[in-house]
Symmetry: C3
Subunit: 263 residues, 3 copies
């Protein structure tokens, strides 16, 4: 495995996030701690200019409104770099589902980051999730099957998150274990992971970026939980670990999870 964190920190890629209003500060802090440079613009009037300046784009469907959808459309059309789509709570309303489907029909994102409920909605299956959360995960075989099915439908890499994460590009699939249940007790943990995908996609192919982002995030969660057993302090410790971890520790964690053969 090459020194991806080192390469990312040296390149300091500009990652443009059409963020939701809830987690935008945490997403910006995550990217800065990682060593990337965030920009969270949203006005349709400047989407083309910002997209042209950025090295990756992360579109988030949480707290959507008409202007944000329009901004996302412009970004998708303009981007000639990796695009991550995070269809937060796509099953929450028919309006949101329709708007996300319109984005997906405009262009395949490079990485689609979903939880099980969102994947089920995008596949037209009955989803048992409520709201934007989907705390219970799936076993590895079901998670990889779901990720693969969605990857084939949408012609992109799917990162399906839960207690276990699964990544698929439609052919290759793998499961990523680890992490900590506190991740489901802070808001934006999925949104931040989507930003990690965008950042890693500037130094790796989409499949590798999704696997690396997932393993990195789970490692950060484990380290944070070791010193901060409740969600208030856990959030701060999580960002600390994003800043502190290096390629050696990441490679060891990925080797320990049997992921090195996939990337």
């Amino acid at each position: 495995m090459s020194d991806r964190l080192k390469a990312l920190r040296a390149a300091r890629p500009l990652v443009h996030c059409v963020a939701n209003t809830v987690s935008s500060e945490s997403c910006a802090n995550l990217l800065l701690a990682l060593g990337a440079s965030p920009i969270m613009a949203q006005a349709p009037e400047e989407m083309a200019a910002v997209t042209a300046a950025a090295q990756a784009t992360v579109l988030n469907a949480g707290t959507p409104d008409a202007v944000r959808w329009s901004a996302c459309h412009t970004c998708l059309r303009a981007a000639d770099h990796p695009v991550v789509l995070d269809p937060v709570g796509v099953g929450v309303s028919p309006w949101r589902a329709e708007k996300v489907r319109a984005l997906l029909s405009l262009r395949h994102p490079d990485i689609l980051r979903v939880n099980a409920g969102e994947a089920q909605t995008l596949l037209g299956m009955d989803s048992r999730s409520q709201g934007v959360d989907c705390p219970k995960g799936l076993p590895c075989d079901q998670a990889t099957a779901l990720a693969q099915r969605l990857a084939r439908l949408r012609h992109c890499v799917v990162l399906l998150t839960g207690a276990l994460d699964a990544v698929s590009d439609g052919q290759k699939t793998c499961c990523i274990a680890g992490g900590n249940p506190l991740m489901s007790r802070i808001t934006g943990s999925g949104d931040m992971l989507s930003c990690l995908c965008g950042a890693f996609a500037t130094v790796a192919d989409a499949f590798t970026a999704a696997v690396t982002a997932s393993a990195f995030w789970k490692l950060c969660a484990e380290r944070a939980a070791a010193t901060a057993p409740a969600p208030g302090r856990f959030r701060a410790a999580l960002i600390d670990n994003v800043y502190i971890l290096d390629d050696r520790e990441l490679a060891a964690a990925m080797a320990g999870r049997g992921l090195l053969s996939f990337i």
Copy 2:
């Protein structure tokens, strides 16, 4: 007193917040730490669907705009579950006061969460508050009188917060002591309390929910201040205590404040 925290955590109610842009992340983190499931949607196009899926709605008038007022209207009409209204800074501008009054005339909320300045504005009295803060509280008799007067005018439970909190449904009234002055040195402490009211209102009547939320929040503040004497670390410790506290500790704190006979 029944095991309300346990019941709430088992039910994991979906609490919909039409939040302000300043405290939305903290409100989401509070609800997740508590064991509820937050959703912070705002687009009028999906308000009916989100409201139908939720078990409680919390409307916040901070950082208002035309779209948010419209979203609040739809929520108020659609909700068949507890609704909390937090008329943040209602006296800040005639426009905001008029919009809040329009909401109140549409439907009585179940709980109206105000500080003394906001209560005075809603009662047409001269308010001496400035901006959105009202750090100085009232003595118990004045606080309960003000809460009761507003409860009678608006036919709902009023939770009036300050150094002392007061709750009234127009008949019953009580005062809740405790807490910590650091609560007025972090933003969103009132907004988060309104979210607690919404969450507790899914497992108790409105009066009990308001009293319980107030006592729980004051207990969290006391515990947080014991380990974190300045506002930066206090915020994290506050959320930690929301996660950690259980019914036994909450019942003891309410008994110690003489509140068990009220609920």
Copy 3:
């Protein structure tokens, strides 16, 4: 040096921030920790009323949209108190640059808070910054020359930030050393400094306010980094120090930087 922190805390000025959506919570928490009272309104319908009630206004161009520009216009016209303008990422798009220039032509702000890239854009020079960040600073002579040139062009005090800060009113100039590199690894550190400028400008002239805010912020960063060596915990420690520091410590830090003769 007079007891400015004490005066500020006694007056508890209402500081109105037309904030960006990313750092608005941190800006509010900063102002509360400092002892000021924040209000983060944004609706054009109430800008005149909020501006009339406030003692200082801080306009931030991050996450701009048509409504926010309109709100900024109303604030600039209505304010008869200190106004700080923070043209975040002015070079990010021609649209943003045009809108910032329109604000500047409406009225000279009292303090313009910029990084080197933003200063270069406003001076029509080629900027080498990317996005909204400009982590590399300039040496003292170049920073003061840039600040002075912009101050003369825009007839206001300029606070140019970087590893070294420079302040100029077009005549007087000074450099402020210190701080910590972690400041560039958290989002909103510049936005928060602009809020400090607004708060200090309620108890001092614009030049003194900018120098004091810069020195205060650098001192907070040094203190925070001494106990929190990574950005997650650093953010909390930073706010703790805003709350804890007093005039004696601030005066000592300014004396140690050779700043007392400037203010």
